[in-house]
Assembly symmetry: C2
Homo-oligomer: 562 residues x 2
């Protein structure tokens, strides 16, 4: 086994980082191995090199030397230029690809947990080194601003991947390799040598999403790989390039480790000929990870026929305003949270509840209109400068989101008050960018046919409630029934805060209280923030808990008389 | 909270046992807190008291003060007397019962992991104290012999339950209660206090089986309870009493701890009006554990719609004979393994492969006929005395198993050679017992339409293979395709042993090598033996690994600006 040395080397090479990561997942205090600022001061030439690498990918086939290639496909369009990227990817014969993946598994299983963890750590390291090329790819497929594409799609996503490796490493380490077992039956002592072997499940399908591809994909990919499975990645047909880059890097790492690169492969489809259902229902798909719509996530759960499924879908995230001592800070933070990436995130707040009996600000109470106006003005200020707007809003991922905005605006004046109109803004760097500022509708709490579902895109609801208490109950009830990942509450009343923690907790919606400051509301830190509870329709898997990894491998035992 | 002291007390009371159990699950060396011999020398008056308690249950309603009782039902018949037990159980309004269970969950969740683990430990202790009443109930519903009903249904089952508590305890303990999190965004330091709350999933349905009710049920029940869920138990309609006794004890423990007894409830149905499908598909069934047929297990997996499902069903367990140095010991051990409880166990060996080119015994080789004859003679010897036959075979659970025996015998002479005929034997204590000795068919490896499925009951196949290698491949392939829990191989050849470990390991069938001695082949030790791999159709859950508990609770987070 000439490659053994190399493989073990990766574990040793990253041992210190792994130990730090283990400690971080246990304490869940802040820890980051990577810097998530794209600053040239920190990264130097890597900034330009990444851009150049991205540009060199355009208008040509993306070569992946995986088996079963029967053509080329790909139709991504940049939300910033609204021009095709011109990148094509292998169109595959799925049977051939699956066969190659299956063939790669036994040696990967036999390589052992230590080797696999080492190789996965090296993969994360290499993904990190390629963060700038990846950030450009994410930007020009998702419409994220460059800083977000770098931070959220690069270091933050890589760290979530690392976190999954840690959980897999710990879960596997806790299984004894064997035991000498002795007990008496009657007067005879029976002595058995037992071996416990960790076994992969097989081929793991990872279906990634259109707007935040890497952040959920990396944890799934690494949880699967570290536990011995092969991974087949099926990206959203409009957001392929970031995953193709990852596949390229992961295959390269496997090759350098003397392992079969077909442990990681890519299947690209088109909106006209989607392939996800076929992949999900294949008998030889052993595990399924999915990020995307709640509708299709539910379909997968319903059709998984006993295979483990890990989903993160969407939700109705609420903000309940009770009281604050810092209206300006609140308006800035919440305004930013409502605008960030044009609200194209599963964690974005959508429904802002404002009590009709007054939002407590210091010793006074603001009316619904006063509160709404303060928030609208804060958002207007934030977006008044096009350069800043570009950094905050980014671009709109696709045309259907423009339709969504139209449908929202058509609700006024009959069903809603138009508190803020959506308009294109001129992106300073990309004059053809598909852009819209957010529309804000004024609604009553009785209008739950409108607000009790996800409006994925820059559509915000300000909802008048009789009281913050009523708002809390409605928001928590919607979270439970329709799904929510995050929820937000602002209050100076310790008892209200406790009720909010309990109500959202019971609904399985993580809650952030009195968040004011430069941290984006939607920010979820690897090693510390649990993402998605699994207790409401927003998804069934948590990044990252033990349940995210423990079912991805199995244990087979042999026992022998000594 | 007047009951807090009592509850905490249970954790303290059992703390030492818990610590020992934690160590045992980690090392997986032999450890037993309970003695599994039913000897009067050890247990004294408990033996007669248990029998008397069982007899006092007969011919009257079994009172359970759970809500929703709308009548009485129950139609169990003792396989030993073939007379009705005459015990009836509450017939329930499921909606009312579920409502009561749901109502009980919040306080149980808020009681905290430590309290729940303590209460569960106390439950196990009380179950153990009632092992003799339970053993009589198991004997007279399943047909097990009394010693097996005591050991397997009592201490061994209680220990598997304790093991599940340990895994739940450890999994919950590994989640930090909170973290103080600080990082800089730009020049500003953000400081958050985070709380991580363990949340139950809801109502857990545990469907228990006809022949070994407690052994799989206790782990499921305790994994669910320890993680904060309520448990609804739906026993097999012919084997209710053992579960009713458990429900009674668990409800009593909850009541003594000042908790809502409706955390554990019983739903009894009849073969004519089965209710399992209705319970599985209820929206408010949050978790499902099932022990029973592979067919219904698959139906549950297919219809679970995203809810976690844990199954243990059935398999085709094989024995591959390659070579031995102890023919007599092998024949005794294997003969006992084939006969025990009339082969009405999911772990029983069924298909014994004998190489046509000779079974190596020391320096000589036995023909198929010589090997078969040796095994048949060993079995005949074992069963020659009715008292001993009673202890080994027990009784036949139900009439359909008699039909199965008939169908097997009808295969001779056209499709099979009748190597041993099945006959009733006279049970020394119960002249009306439903008894049969095993039928043994001689088959060829080409007869896989006959042997490649489970024959649940005293039907054994001796299969002639060209070689032990061919036998191994067929046995492993059947395990993978049709499911197997255990497999067995006898060989003096280290390389053959390794091939057997690999082949059965790849098929997800635990393998026991060269087992000779007083330990029953089917014995699986809590804290040491992993039961079911999840890698073949014999079930998807393992007793007990982390995956068996980790998905039964969820984590919800709150974070607050400091």
């Amino acid at each position: 086994m000439a490659h053994s040395f190399t493989m073990t080397d990766y574990f040793d090479k990253h041992h210190e980082r792994l130990q730090q990561a283990v400690e971080a997942t246990q304490t869940r205090a802040a820890w980051s191995p990577f810097n998530d600022s794209p600053s040239r001061k920190i990264h130097g030439d890597a900034v330009d090199a990444g851009l150049a690498a991205f540009q060199a990918r355009l208008n040509k086939p993306f070569e992946i030397d995986q088996p079963g290639t029967i053509g080329q496909t790909g139709m991504e369009v940049s939300p910033y230029t609204q021009e095709p990227l011109g990148v094509t990817y292998p169109k595959v014969d799925v049977d051939v690809l699956y066969q190659a993946a299956r063939k790669a598994i036994p040696a990967w299983g036999e390589a052992g947990a230590r080797t696999r963890v080492g190789v996965c750590m090296e993969m994360v390291e290499r993904l990190n080194k390629n963060s700038f090329e990846s950030a450009n790819a994410i930007m020009h497929t998702t419409g994220q601003s460059f800083p977000m594409a770098f931070a959220g799609g690069g270091p933050n996503a890589q760290e979530r991947g690392l976190e999954a490796i840690v959980y897999a490493h710990l879960a596997m380490s806790r299984v004894a390799e064997g035991a000498l077992w002795e007990r008496a039956f009657g007067s005879t002592k029976v002595k058995l040598q037992k071996q416990y072997r960790l076994m992969p499940r097989g081929i793991a399908l990872v279906i990634t999403c259109a707007t935040f591809p890497t952040w959920n994909a990396y944890p799934a990919i690494f949880a699967n790989l570290a536990t011995g499975n092969a991974v087949v990645i099926k990206p959203h047909p409009l957001t392929i390039l970031p995953m193709a880059l990852a596949v390229d890097i992961l295959r390269g790492t496997l090759r350098d480790a003397g392992l079969d690169p077909n442990l990681v492969t890519l299947i690209v489809d088109t909106p006209a000929e989607p392939i996800a259902k076929e992949l999900v229902t294949r008998d030889d798909t052993a595990l399924i990870d999915f990020t995307g719509s709640a509708h299709f996530g539910k379909w997968i759960e319903d059709n998984a026929r006993g295979r483990p499924v890990f989903t993160e879908t969407s939700g109705v995230n609420s903000v309940v305003l009770d009281s604050t001592n810092d209206l300006k800070g609140l308006a800035q933070t919440l305004g930013m949270g409502l605008c960030l990436y044009s609200k194209q995130m599963c964690t974005s707040p959508q429904n802002v509840y404002i009590p009709r009996n007054g939002f407590g600000v210091g010793d006074s109470r603001l009316t619904f209109d006063e509160t709404a106006q303060t928030l609208v003005e804060s958002i207007n200020g934030l977006l008044s400068d096009n350069a800043r707007a570009g950094g905050v809003l980014g671009a709109i991922h696709n045309e259907t989101i423009l339709n969504l905005i139209e449908r929202a605006e058509e609700l006024a004046p009959s069903r809603a008050k138009l508190l803020r109109e959506s308009k294109p803004y001129a992106h300073p760097d990309f004059p053809n960018a598909r852009t819209r500022t957010p529309v804000i509708l004024g609604l009553d709490i009785s209008d739950n046919d409108i607000y009790s579902r996800e409006w994925f895109g820059p559509v915000i609801h300000f909802i008048a409630a009789d009281s913050s208490e009523q708002a809390l109950q409605q928001a928590a009830s919607d979270a439970k029934q329709f799904g929510a990942i995050n929820s937000y509450a602002y209050s100076t009343d310790a008892q209200f805060i406790e009720r909010a923690q309990n109500a959202f907790g019971d609904a399985g919606a993580n809650v952030s209280i009195n968040m004011i400051g430069p941290m984006p509301l939607t920010y979820a830190a690897a090693f510390s923030d649990y993402h998605v509870s699994g207790l409401n329709p927003a998804g069934n898997a948590t990044l990252t808990d033990e349940a995210f990894v423990s079912g991805r491998f199995r244990i087979v035992q042999s026992r022998m008389a000594v």
